[in-house]
């Protein structure tokens, strides 16, 4: 059987790519579109390193088939910064040591951004539950949670000023 042509809006741009019918969206992003920011930690939905937004909802791209992306809006870690200006969540992860090896970081940042966009002031418990699908083997999570809290505080401040 021949490859399937898929058209999707990826980080704001319409893109077309060819994929195998059983290929994961994660593989298509990484291998066909060269968007290697999303990582494969497990390939089974457990670790969240492959988290992307699909039509505004966060999903594990390892558990989406590439042909399912047809007509969808996909946002990946590559679309989070604006040019060379980091998103406040990215900056706080750097400043506060929210990463060590960095493998889990793209997934955490996409997930944390999704949370703060729907709730600008989540409690620590809410943050921890929201991020329960993202695993980190290095940091022990605490610095990640603090970085998200600090970023949330900064983003609320910006909202008041602007």
């Amino acid at each position: 059987m021949s490859k399937i042509a898929v058209t999707a809006t990826i980080n704001g741009d319409e893109q077309e790519f060819l994929c195998e019918p059983g290929e994961s969206l994660l593989d298509a992003l990484r291998m066909r579109l060269n968007l290697t920011g999303s990582k494969e930690g497990c390939g089974s939905g457990d670790c969240g390193a492959c988290t992307v937004m699909m039509d505004g909802r966060m999903v594990c791209s390892c558990l989406v088939l590439a042909p399912e992306a047809e007509g969808k809006r996909i946002e990946t870690i590559e679309g989070v910064a604006e040019g060379s200006v980091l998103h406040p969540i990215q900056r706080k992860f750097l400043e506060m040591g929210g990463l060590q090896c960095g493998f889990c970081t793209p997934g955490f940042i996409v997930a944390a951004k999704a949370l703060l966009e729907r709730d600008p002031d989540p409690s620590e418990t809410e943050i921890r539950y929201w991020l329960a699908g993202n695993l980190c083997r290095c940091t022990g999570y605490d610095k990640i949670i603090r970085a998200v809290q600090e970023a949330a505080a900064e983003m609320r401040q910006e909202r008041v000023v602007s």
């Binding site: 059987m1 909802r57 966060m58 594990c60 558990l63 399912e68 999704a114 699908g133």
Partner: protein, 287 residues
């Protein structure tokens, strides 16, 4: 090489599934893709059900609700009427996995994957929900408990799939609840699950009760004796003790590293009691 289909109608989906014995319906893919990757299932064709308009979203039906089988669990939370009527079902569906998983996972997939530990299934059985099954021979309505046959197996025939989950009209003074026990706080599979749905009269006497259990037998169970122990009582402690005895008697769990037979049996009774109290307070708040 595998084929990927995204039919637009129920008839096309059924024809595609009937045409290829190894074909699998795809809803959220949170079980299917994991099983394909591990080699446990090797379908020659995947039939994505999500492009069929009637299979997405929630609508009023017969005083209750018809939930399109491809509706993800998190979308249930956005329906205020559903959350008010069947909070136990909505909560059970939203215990599954992580937010990422629930944004894709469906109750129909949870049901048709036929894991004994599927979280939404005891809650749906307690609520007396039905599945609208569509296939080459037309459609039929099946009680939820009759869909799973054994771990990983359903009673669906070749070409059949679940198109809707139907929840009945909720009694004005009814309430439901689902609780599960897991070794962690999130992202784990139930060691025991218990769903309870009750109706009370104006004096607080229980007039109807359904108690369902997960992870204590090869399929989720409706324990009719447990419900019967509550009917006609004021839900006093003695009635709940009799209900708990019936729950323990119905348990036939496996022994594994996640829970022994004794632990699962004891916990089933405890969770059923706690779920009864939550359902009671919800029913009371409604009456």
């Amino acid at each position: 090489m595998i084929a990927f289909h995204s039919p637009q109608t129920l008839e096309d989906a059924s024809a595609l599934l009937a045409a290829e014995p190894s074909a699998r319906p795809l809803s959220g893919g949170t079980d299917l893709l994991v099983q394909m990757r591990s080699g446990r299932v090797e379908p020659a064709a995947i039939v994505d059900l999500k492009q069929i308009p009637s299979m997405r979203g929630i609508r009023a039906h017969d005083g209750g609700f018809a939930i399109g089988a491809a509706t993800p669990c998190t979308a249930l939370l956005d329906d205020a009427a559903l959350c008010a009527a069947w909070p136990g079902v909505v909560e059970a569906a939203n215990l599954i996995g992580s937010v990422q998983v629930r944004n894709r996972a469906t109750m129909a997939g949870n049901l048709c994957n036929a894991s004994p530990a599927a979280d939404s299934v005891p809650a749906l059985i307690a609520a007396d929900a039905r599945a609208l099954v569509v296939g080459p021979a037309g459609e039929r309505e099946v009680p939820i408990a009759d869909i799973p046959a054994a771990p990983g197996k359903t009673n669906l025939a070749q070409g059949e799939f679940v198109a809707e989950i139907r929840l009945p009209a909720k009694s004005a003074s009814g309430g439901d609840a689902y609780l599960r026990s897991i070794p962690r706080t999130e992202m784990d599979i139930a060691v025991v699950g218990a769903g309870v749905s009750l109706v009370l009269d104006s004096s607080g006497t229980c007039t109807a009760a359904r108690v369902a259990l997960g992870a204590v037998a090869p399929t989720a169970l409706l324990v009719e004796e447990a419900g019967a122990a509550l009917v006609g009582t004021g839900l006093d402690d003695a009635a709940l003790d009799r209900m708990a005895d019936a729950v323990r008697a119905a348990c036939n769990p496996i022994n594994d590293k996640r829970g022994t037979v004794e632990y699962r049996t004891a916990m089933a009774a405890i969770l059923a009691k706690r779920a009864t109290r939550i359902a009671q307070s919800r029913a009371g708040a409604n009456s």
